[in-house]
């Protein structure tokens, strides 16, 4: 197992290098120039040169990329150019927030999606199926942005139910956490449910058509055991794939909009700020972390495949 993991990690190196390289070229090398933001109101040429040197802008491309790889290998990204906070501390502070923010919606969105998909697939072509799928298409057609704005007005403003906070974040107590996480969670669930339901329905319908399902029915298995035991376990590969590969994106991309709109200090917001202010140390760390996370996801996914499908071998 250890050997396998090491092998996989090694195999993940090209991916990490690819992600970091492309990101480096785009975000760092061609990315925003922070010099003039740091320069103050009335800078001199010398000061500007000094800042550029401090930020490392004056070094040649290859040197900068090499430095990046070294930073990645040593997990030492230095300090944020904007806030001066140590980057590792920054990530350590913000990633848990993003996880706590997106996880409930992510889990619920998938679980409810699977349940609805099971219902729809089992009652294929009936009104149950049709209403679920209509709901799914509507869900898919509403922009995330509209949902967020709408939910905020509905749940959090004096014009609506006014039950939840407009914005903000706290995880000090469970009550506070639930208070702050509910509206974002509802938005995440709503926006992902349509896509999830459709995807899972397609998977399950396909699975229901398999020969071995017919065999199971021919030997008297009940609909429940077929759906919840056989179909579900057999559908695990696409389900795992979908879930696992969306994790890195959910943590960073998915929470970006929610975090900026609800004023939640998570990693998505930090990253977005880093992009829009050219905070390269943070960017480099986030991109590196994402790439590593992807490789980890690849490995975990493999292991999960093995867990659910005996035909898969870990090589």
């Amino acid at each position: 197992m250890l050997q396998y993991t090491l092998k996989k990690l090694l195999a993940g190196l090209p991916l990490i290098l690819g992600v970091t390289f492309i990101s480096f070229v785009l975000m760092v090398y061609f990315g925003p120039d922070k010099t003039y933001e740091l320069a103050g109101k009335n800078p001199t040429e010398e000061q500007i040169a000094q800042i550029r040197a401090d930020l490392g802008y004056d070094q040649p491309f290859f040197k900068r990329y090499t430095n990046y790889v070294i930073e990645l290998a040593t997990l030492n990204f230095g300090h944020s150019d904007s806030t001066g906070e140590r980057v590792t501390r920054l990530l350590g502070r913000t990633i848990p927030i993003s996880l706590a923010l997106t996880l409930p919606g992510f889990v619920l969105g998938n679980v409810i999606g699977i349940l609805l998909a099971l219902l729809a697939a089992y009652y294929r072509s009936t009104w149950i199926d049709k209403s679920i799928m209509t709901f799914a298409v509507v869900g898919m057609s509403v922009s995330f942005l509209i949902i967020i704005i709408g939910f905020q007005v509905m749940f959090s403003s004096a014009y609506g139910l006014n039950m939840f906070p407009v914005r903000g974040w706290s995880m000090d107590t469970l009550g506070e956490y639930l208070y702050y996480v509910t509206v974002p969670t509802l938005a995440i669930v709503f926006v992902s449910l349509g896509y999830n339901t459709r995807f899972y329905r397609a998977v399950i319908v396909e699975e229901l058509g398999k020969d071995h399902i017919r065999t199971a029915r021919a030997y008297g298995a009940s609909a429940r055991s077929i759906l919840l035991k056989r179909v579900l376990k057999n559908s695990m590969i696409p389900i795992i794939t979908r879930i696992m590969f969306s994790i890195p994106l959910v943590v960073i991309s998915g929470s970006l909009l929610i975090e900026s709109y609800f004023g939640i200090p998570g990693v998505g917001k930090v990253t977005y700020d880093a992009i829009t202010t050219g905070d390269q140390p943070v960017l480099k760390a986030v991109v590196g972390a994402t790439a590593v996370l992807f490789v980890v996801v690849l490995i975990v996914t493999d292991v999960l495949y093995r867990l659910f499908d005996p035909r898969v071998e870990l090589k």
Binding site: V19, S23, V137, V142, L145, I252, Y272, I275, T290
Partner: protein, 284 residues
């Protein structure tokens, strides 16, 4: 058995039998005509003009009223249709072409170095969170009007390529490909004449999906300030309206989100109908 009924005519016949599909195609077409009109300078040209009154109610002169700056909301919404189609079409077409070609090459040479390189590229692009990537491209191209398009093409092609790759790997094992090799058809012709046309139904469906993703992403990117550079779009209108809805001014919000929703919904239904009509399992 009607003589000479091709895959496409058969799909067309099936599509004509799909009421939802037809209705949605009609709506999409309607939008397209609106967009075309903007292109041809027939309407929607006053989107930026400052009229006399700000925040006017709906009237015959301003069908959706005016916004705070005194611009005609209807004209802005109409003009945004063009913006949406420009983005949707260019991203859908180019990312599909790119995805088809690279996916086909990758699938055809599965396991060889060219496949490895393309897979690596796909994996890499997929591993960079979408909004970060778009933001990064937008910055790298420094405010270039097509930065967003380029970024979306660069990210959306991978899905198409994966679909095509899978299909090509299946197709290339089929005997008609071997037959083509047996009669001496050169490799590039096998890929582009024999294999790719057989993925065209997938490409078409994929293109519609990308179209929808593109216009939906535009909204969010414009909201984040990474989207449309000059001109107006539903995303920009919604971004503007976030500050207006709190005072109960919903004209801008409803005009933009309503038009966006109807188009996306119609396109989704259209895409579904297309998928059904083109499903080879049902056509064969």
């Amino acid at each position: 058995m009607s003589a000479g009924e091709s895959f496409w005519s058969k799909a067309w016949r099936k599509f004509l039998g799909d009421r939802f599909g037809l209705a949605s195609a009609g709506i999409v077409l309607g939008y397209f005509v609106i967009a075309l009109g903007v292109w041809l300078d027939l309407w929607g040209q006053q989107w930026s003009t400052l009229t006399s009154g700000s925040n006017l109610p709906m009237s015959s002169a301003h069908w959706f009223g005016t916004n705070l700056s005194g611009q005609d909301i209807f004209d802005r919404a109409i003009y945004s249709t063009k913006t949406a189609f420009e983005i949707g079409l260019s991203v859908a077409v180019l990312s599909t072409i790119l995805g088809a070609i690279l996916g086909a090459i990758s699938g055809f040479f599965a396991g060889r170095w060219s496949d490895e390189v393309i897979l690596w590229l796909m994996g890499t692009l997929d591993s960079i969170p979408f909004y970060l990537f778009v933001a990064a491209v937008a910055f790298a191209l420094q405010g270039h009007p097509l930065a967003m398009h380029a970024a979306m093409i660069a990210t959306f092609w991978t899905t198409t390529a994966r679909v095509v790759r899978g299909e090509v790997m299946k197709l290339k094992e089929l005997e008609f490909i071997e037959a083509a090799r047996a009669i001496g058809v050169p490799q590039h012709l096998i890929i582009f004449r024999h294999i790719l046309p057989n993925t065209s139904h997938l490409l078409l469906v994929q293109a519609t999906i990308v179209f929808v993703s593109a216009i939906k992403s535009e909204v969010i990117l414009s909201f984040l300030g990474l989207g449309v550079q000059d001109g107006v779009s539903w995303g920009l209108m919604i971004a503007e309206s976030t500050q207006e809805v709190i005072v109960g001014q919903f004209k801008n919000f409803f005009a933009a989100s309503g038009m966006l929703f109807v188009l996306v919904m119609a396109f989704n239904l259209f895409s579904d109908a297309l998928q059904d009509a083109l499903d080879p399992k049902k056509v064969h």
